[in-house]
Amino acid sequence: MNDAVEAVKALAIGFATTFKHLFRKPITEEYPEYKRPLPARSRARIILTRDPDGAERCVACYLCSAVCPVSCISMQSAENEDGRRYAQWFRINFARCIYCGLCEEACPTSAIQLTPEFENCENDILALVYEKKNLLVDHQGKDKEYNYYKYAGVATEVGKKGEHVKEERPVNIKSNLP
């Protein structure tokens, strides 16, 4: 007798809960009608950022292409008139990319960054091969401050020898004074 009461009670509570939810606002977010903002650190489409002065951050050092486990990054480095090393062309094959983020981790200049933007499906597979003009953006991405050439001791328009962060004036090589 007791068991039967318990069973009916449980059923009643269950149905009551279901009935109650019939009148609640749904919490499911309908994609693509609603696009939820993802955390900044989520890993999707890759961009090439610029430093705070607006110049390209990428120095085409080949570290991202070296670390890439699926070899989807290729580039050609070259030298600018002002002595900066830059990528003559830079290509990422997103058909191959696994969005692991190792390139971002390897990048010594904060140039290559992954963004939350994940909607980059294409019908034509060649359209997934992004060239530099598709990758380069006009902002700093997640790193708002860093300008590599302010720290590296090579002469560019950012600073001559001895003008970078924590540098002495260049040595006078024609003197023997310590």
């Binding site: 120095v59 290509r91 090579v154 002495e168 310590p178």
Partner: protein, 833 residues
Amino acid sequence: MPTIIIDDREIEVAPGTKVIEAAEQLGIMIPRFCYHPALGSVGACRVCAVKFLQGPFKGVQMSCMVDAQDDMVVSTTDKEAVAFRKYVIECLMLHHPHDCPVCDAGGHCLLQDMTVSGGHGIRRYLGKKRTYPDQYLGPLIQHEMNRCIHCYRCSRFYQDFGGYHDLGAMQSANQTYFGRFEEGILESPFSGNLIDICPTGVYTDKPSRYFGRRWDYERSPSLCINCSLGCQTVVSCRYRKVVRQEARLSESVNGHFICDRGRYGFFYNSLAQRPRSCIVDDQTTSVDQALAAVKQKLETFADKDRAQAVACAGSTRNSLETLAMVKHVCQTNRWQPPAYFEDAAATYKLKSAISRLEPDLTVSLREIESADFIAVLGADPLNEAPMLALALRQAQRKGATVAVFDPRPIFLPFEFKHLPANLDMIQTDLGALLNAALEPAALKKLDGSAREFYASLATVKQISAARQAEIVALAELLKASQRPIIVCGTEMVRRQTPALAADYALLMQAAGKSVGLFYVMPGANGFAAGLLADEDVSVETLIAGIEKGSIKMLILVESNPLWQFPDRHRLEQALQQLEVLVVMDYINSEVAQKADIFLPTTTLYETGGVYVNQEGRAQGVKPAYQGGIPIAQTGHGDHPPRVYGTEIPGAEPQAAWQLLAHLIGTGQPLTAEDLRAEIWQWLAKIDSGFKALPCVADIQPQGARFFQAPHAAERFLRERPIGGADNDGQLEVMAVEMTFGTEELSADSACLKALAGSPVIFMYSSDAKQLNLTDGDRVSVELNGGAVEARLQVTANMAAGMLIIPRHKDLDWQKMNTDKTFVHKDQIRKLKD
């Protein structure tokens, strides 16, 4: 033989071996910056510290400064030593500019490796960094002094090893600087080695600046074909382009280093103007169609009598496979015998040199370093074979005397004795030296012909009075010498000189000296071409045939006579008279542009090949990459074309020997591998010395020394030119090779063009005085074929009665007409500036 224990492992080493070398023999790489096997130890960097646990002394010591001795027990992993090395690395990194991402050494940087492996990952020093200004060091080397760790390798190589003094240490203490006093182009033609030996990125390669990383390069062992020495190299390819060439350690040829001509002589391979498609009558066609066109033309000459109207020429830059195939095609099709050289004298000189290279006389380039007296006869080491000059320098550093018998204004980066005389007198002078140096007692042992030869040598009294004292002084040194070596040129010298050099060597050998003989030859494969050449056939005889009308069709295989032939006008006329001119080449040579049918061929880097250097060392090379148009060219400076494809663009060219095989018979041509095997078999029939070659083609690191099959070479020449004839106020003109700019392949390298400079004509000081000319005057010299103009350089450091003209591109030296020509003194005029 001391026995030493390193990390619980025992090894017996030769006396004088440093602990760091002993460890290396065990396979233990002790960190090092300043130590280099070729440069020795200085103990400057302190990074090779190890702990000595037992033995003559104990504690942390520099392993590069301590000789391995008995009872020594060494630990490389002792806590104290590891901590010591870690602090040293941290100190070396205090002022490092942290610019690895934009440094071309990144990826193969010793400092990077040591920093990481030494455990110094986080920077603790918060003070300011020292900085240095950089210098312009010429078109080959980029300078970035901030990265320097003061190991002194550069100045030790440049000054001590190389013998040049315009780069070295300046300033003092913590501000020591390595560079030039005034910035400018480095004088040493070995400067490129600074890039290889610098343990970090102070000196980096300028032509390949910012091109890529070492880990991305397809690297493979290769060979330098810019002179006859055949130095071993490593080439780096990337994106279908040869990017860099570095020295490969070779114990028998070049040691650790190569010269700049070799290092930067590969750019012809990836030039935009390199021909990559066949051209028939100015129309681009496929290889098959072009071959069909050649065959169709050949059909006219199919019958026996007409076949002689076809001639074929190779050159000394052909691989052995191509050289052999050229000869094979000519023989099979009954064409004229092939020509490999400009004139018959060159063939004769090479043939006599090759036949005189006996096993117990021949020395390798590295063996020159152990000589104690070196007589250079008719060769200009720095200009004809630059690495020879570096080898001579090493011998001289060890105390050898170097005497150069040559009319040219010779410069060598060390102290040597130059005895300039004209081409007849140089051998007389050397004969007189031998005459004075050999003890009469030793000569009693000589057999008949040797004694006769000795008796015919000039005595010291017979040579010019001014020279006598020098010869007598040298004779004293030669008398005391145990290991004399004769280095002999084969290009400029008289017909008998190479054979005479061998006779001189034999004479010294008979007198009890352990003597060596070393020839310098023209071109990378001059030895093999000399072996295969027919004695009386040369480009000159082909031209004569064309002029007579007996030759109507000419096939030039990787050969450009317009570059080298001394009578340009005559050659151009002859080429026009031809009915058909077929050219196969991998450079866009002048003669290729005149061809009726042009077929592109592949380079050494694309198909490999065997090259025989001047001592007869056959060295094989495998392809470095697959060929095709560089991506930089297909992309026109931007990204590669966005197309899918399985074929390599611009990969149509085939090896010259493969193309030639199509011209034999009508059957299906063999595969490349079978064809190669057939070539070796066929070569072995010509000379049994070639039997060892198939193994060379599989790359033996040291190659295989080729000796001509036993033969009866004529020893001890009887007829010898005795020089000294007065030229009646005439000057003998000599067109000579320079380090940069006169060698055909390296002349295509843009970075070497600045080093070639503008042409100068050299004249002896008293000759110039007679003509009222001074150094720096612009002069016009009336040669047989017209006037040439250049600036005059007056020097006392050359033979009188000579006019030395470099075979510079900007100078019409090919107006000479013959290779031996005289100008009368009034044919030289001073021009207004």
